[in-house]
């Protein structure tokens, strides 16, 4: 599930995760969250995450370039509960060079990670679509990890008038 890392980088990530877990605000009742990366942000610190904070759990010292990723979401989302998202990563998807993981990260949602995908050369194309929830106007980050351990990313600002996560009858 997690990409292979050096022992040092793994230790750094482990510490980030456990310290982050202590900051949980909103009640997620599941103790054994299979995706440790699906933890809730500490809501007492009510500000938008910045880009560095958003990618920190995934990118530890590796090279990260703002290229090669096409991210597509509507500029104005009708409703935050269902926002169509498409993305494409330029990659030959061969054994030698392919995308291994894609992370979709939210700037404002209670849970920063919206979804994580695991791909390989068998996919032929690093292209996918899904529907996300956005709790308000925010930036979305699509982060792709390549087989050489480096990362590519793209961001997009989405205006959301009816936020998800808020009850409206």
């Amino acid at each position: 599930m997690l990409p292979s890392l050096s022992r040092r980088d793994y230790l750094i990530r482990f510490l980030q995760t456990t310290v982050g877990a202590w900051g949980v605000g909103v009640g997620l009742t599941n103790a054994q969250d299979m995706s440790v990366l699906g933890r809730v942000q500490d809501l007492s610190d009510a500000r938008l995450r910045n880009f560095e904070e958003m990618v920190a759990p995934y990118v530890v010292r590796q090279t990260m370039k703002h290229e090669g990723v096409t991210l597509s979401l509507p500029m104005l989302a009708d409703n935050g509960h269902l926002v169509p998202l498409s993305l494409k990563v330029d990659s030959p998807m061969t054994e030698a060079s392919h995308v291994t993981h894609i992370y979709l990260i939210s700037q404002r949602n209670p849970v920063p990670l919206m979804a994580m995908f695991v791909l390989g050369p068998w996919n032929g194309r690093a292209e996918l679509s899904m529907r996300v929830r956005l709790s308000g106007t925010q930036m979305v980050v699509a982060l792709a990890r390549l087989s050489d351990g480096t990362f590519r990313y793209e961001t997009q600002e989405v205006v959301v008038t009816e936020a998800a996560c808020i009850d409206n009858g």
């Binding site: 009742t29 269902l82 209670p110 849970v111 919206m114 994580m116 695991v118 068998w122 899904m130 996560c165």
Partner: protein, 116 residues
């Protein structure tokens, strides 16, 4: 338990990189909302969903509460030979959803270059 629908192209030829669309009926309850009676609905989301073909995991997604209800996933696969596409997903309650599809891949025609 949950229903799901899969869409693949009608004709798939060896070497094609084809698109799959999977729509799973699941509430993806975030744990932040209340039901019609005003009671907080516990979090229940799909924790992971995998696609297995020829005994190998060829696609995996780990959604969170940030994924919409009744999630749709679209992705691509390179066609090699026929086999059973087996989708399996597990949610917070431990329910296992499954969908199987017999994938028919026609052998490549000598005169026809594979699409990509």
């Amino acid at each position: 338990m949950t229903t799901a629908r899969l869409q693949v192209p009608n004709r798939i030829i060896e070497g094609d990189v084809f698109k799959l669309r999977l729509l799973v009926q699941h509430p993806m309850d975030s744990g932040f909302l209340r039901d019609l009676e005003g009671v907080l609905v516990k979090r229940n989301v799909i924790r992971h969903l995998q696609c297995i073909l020829h005994d190998k995991e060829v696609f995996r997604v780990e959604p969170t509460t940030g994924t919409s209800a009744n999630p749709l996933f679209e992705f691509y696969l390179r066609a090699t030979h026929s086999g059973e596409l087996y989708f399996r997903w597990v949610d917070d309650k431990g329910y296992i959803g499954e969908l199987r599809h017999n994938l028919v891949v026609e052998p490549a025609n000598q005169s026809q270059a594979p699409k990509s």
